[in-house]
């Protein structure tokens, strides 16, 4: 049974102009806040970090929060707890209500010394430089690794994975990989392409370098995609449909829902040609190979036999 609530205690960062910039929860829990918990009592390991950080023009406050997953997030701190729950692998992508999260997250300057308000980052530039503090991002979402270090996972470039990503042990996100919040891997996978918000990848799959998965936040897509197990998205390929297990999309081929594909190994139609369907009709099927015939230019699909790919064990130990 999926829990419908979570709670956490942590530190929120508040800018001098009273904007709540973030919240960090070292150990979020599923379930409701225990009846005997004292929301004001600061755990010893956090106490030392409460207070002002003049370099960034912020202070850190202690926070206790409970999130009700049946409702949209109600505050910045609530939104941060939900992102932590995903990245601590307590709940899978698409199982928590995140409606309206963009409006709850302010735009923040993310630095090596923590978050600060973008106006302050501009205003305090010379003293920040002197203090060795610089912004690696000005965005609504922080980097995963600044909040959670998921065990058994490699992330070659911290800038490419947002807090709220769900990464399973054995996953490697290479330099060209990207994982948005509420997206991720359900097993060991190689991610060298881009996982849009809502996209989940099954065990043993390989998202090739520069591969694209269509999302629902921008560009017009409305369906959240999934990718099965032992499936390969070739380098520079892309999908606008879901893929089942043991599928391959050839390097360089983009298959959208509207792509008309020729069923190259099916029985011919009465007209003597291969049947043609829209790719969206094949969404989620297992064992398909998508390719573009390099002599005719037609996009074809063939039924594969046997298992899909096998990852290189040395890279996912």
């Amino acid at each position: 049974m999926t829990e419908s609530a979570a709670w956490g205690q942590g530190l929120a960062t508040v800018s001098d102009n009273a904007t709540i910039l973030d919240a960090w929860f070292p150990a979020p829990h599923l379930g409701s806040l225990p009846a005997d918990a004292d929301p004001q009592k600061v755990p010893a390991e956090l106490a030392a970090y409460i207070g002002e950080d003049a370099r960034r023009a912020v202070r850190r406050d202690f926070v206790t929060i409970e999130s009700d997953f049946d409702e949209p997030p109600a505050s910045t701190v609530d939104a941060y707890l939900r992102l932590h729950v995903l990245s601590h692998r307590l709940a899978r992508p698409n199982t928590i209500n995140l409606d309206g999260i963009f409006a709850l997250l302010p735009t923040v300057a993310w630095t090596n010394a923590g978050p600060m308000h973008p106006d302050d980052a501009a205003r305090l530039r010379p003293q920040l430089q002197q203090a060795g503090i610089s912004a690696h991002s000005v965005d609504k979402f922080p980097r995963l690794l600044d909040y959670v270090v998921p065990p058994g996972v490699r992330i070659a470039d911290a800038n490419r994975v947002r807090l709220g990503a769900y990464l399973s042990p054995g996953t490697t996100v290479m330099h060209e990989g990207f994982v948005n919040f509420n997206a991720g891997t359900l097993g060991a996978s190689m991610v060298e392409g881009r996982l849009s918000q809502g996209v989940v990848v099954g065990d043993g799959s390989d998202i090739g370098g520069g591969a694209s998965t269509m999302g629902t936040l921008s560009g017009g897509g409305t369906t959240r995609l999934s990718i099965g197990e032992r499936t390969l998205l070739g380098a520079n390929s892309g999908i606008g449909i879901s893929l089942g297990d043991d599928c391959v999309v050839e390097a360089g081929l983009y298959v959208t829902g509207g792509t008309k594909v020729s069923l190259a190994d099916a029985a011919p139609t009465a007209a003597g040609i291969a049947p043609i369907v829209k790719a969206s009709e094949l969404s989620g099927r297992h064992g398909l190979l998508f390719r573009r015939n390099s002599l005719t230019g037609a996009v074809e699909v063939l039924q594969r036999t046997g298992d899909g790919i096998r990852l290189n064990a040395a890279l996912h130990a």
Copy 2:
């Protein structure tokens, strides 16, 4: 009327071997240096930062400079003022003379504590590590966010936008986006692809993940491209021609100037086939849809009706 000059006062960084590494101008101005300005008088807010930084083997000097936009930049400091003018949105891309800028910009090691000479970065490596200073780049151009934090803009990965980029309020540059100097957005846009030097994008457009725009610095292009309003470059697509308003290039399709495209919805030729033109002849036209027919492999263009795309307002608030 476009101003033909700008001036600024700021701080230059000079390495121990007397290389001028950069200059930072907190508030550049259009127009000529006021007659009553004293180029030697250091503003109070900068005075504290003048002097040596032994960690980086540099010193910071006060500088006052005027740039004449009818002439090429004359020095490193002049070049930096022009890049600031662009990023402060005081002048649009392609309106300022930047000829010869590469030769004026030394290669610099860019660190979280500011610029330093690459030879010093190599030589001083252990003490830099001890001081928590590391280089995120060795390049001629710095990151935009280390010099200017443009209001109303999100930049998910600071490493992907160079100083000299012109980004309008409401613009989001996602992790896979890239904006070179003298390139940018004239309104609210989603940038998940790469804007080469000289490329400008109109309001309401979406440059999809991994999309490419051909530039003029390398690879042989000679024309600076522009992209109109409400236009979509699909993920992993690319263009070597300009696009007008309300256009769409299908995901995964690369249209170069030399691509022969079939006018699929035009009246057939005498031979009974669709007319064929080079894509360069369609450069800058409005309301075009470019796609590759997935059954025949032919690149086709169709006339679209009505407006182009609409951005997700939550992402560009």
Copy 3:
């Protein structure tokens, strides 16, 4: 004659749980350790950096090591010396035994203050933030620039080049470029695409933005690719075969070994059509242009005459 050994003296970082995280060699040498060298004698310039760094829960130890290139690396420190030898341009890619290197390299949290154990990065998060220390990567391989600053090279984004890359003077790795360990450039080149492990690029070549080269570590490739001189991989293109000198792969085209290509300018076959071969049969040939015919969708190859591309000298000075 290629040397079959190298030696070096440097500093290793060891975490509190006794994991050897890395080793840094300021000046690695080819050949065997000199008979009169004292492996215990710490050079003066390193002595100050030996000892504990409590912020990261590590200590730094002095190390002396000799690597036998006829054998696989025998330890973490041995593996690091080999990566240094490549990045100091003492030995070209594919000339040093690196078998089993993944198993020898622990997963490390790479910060602006040096390496630390990922468990410690999670555990010590609040004090690290206070100290301005943050992880830009959790991976087996560090960034090149944190260990070696190769003279005459620009690397726009340090996160995109691993230690073990071999970059020749005049090379520019742009923001979208990527160079793995045991890969690189043998002359001045523009790298805006991804060089997989084992891939080498000749002088004067241009790897376009987002271009992909198939590797042997994941995705199933078994052959290490090479790219000749004055050759252009267009933006968003890709190859699964080697290219000789003066070749061009059109923007957006992916040529795998299995791609059937039409020899468009060869004498027709008896059937009156252009001969067709698998692209793997053309691997390494000079002066080829690969393109997809935009009217028929067929992948074609043509023989080019004269030299290939010329780089923009201003970008590679």
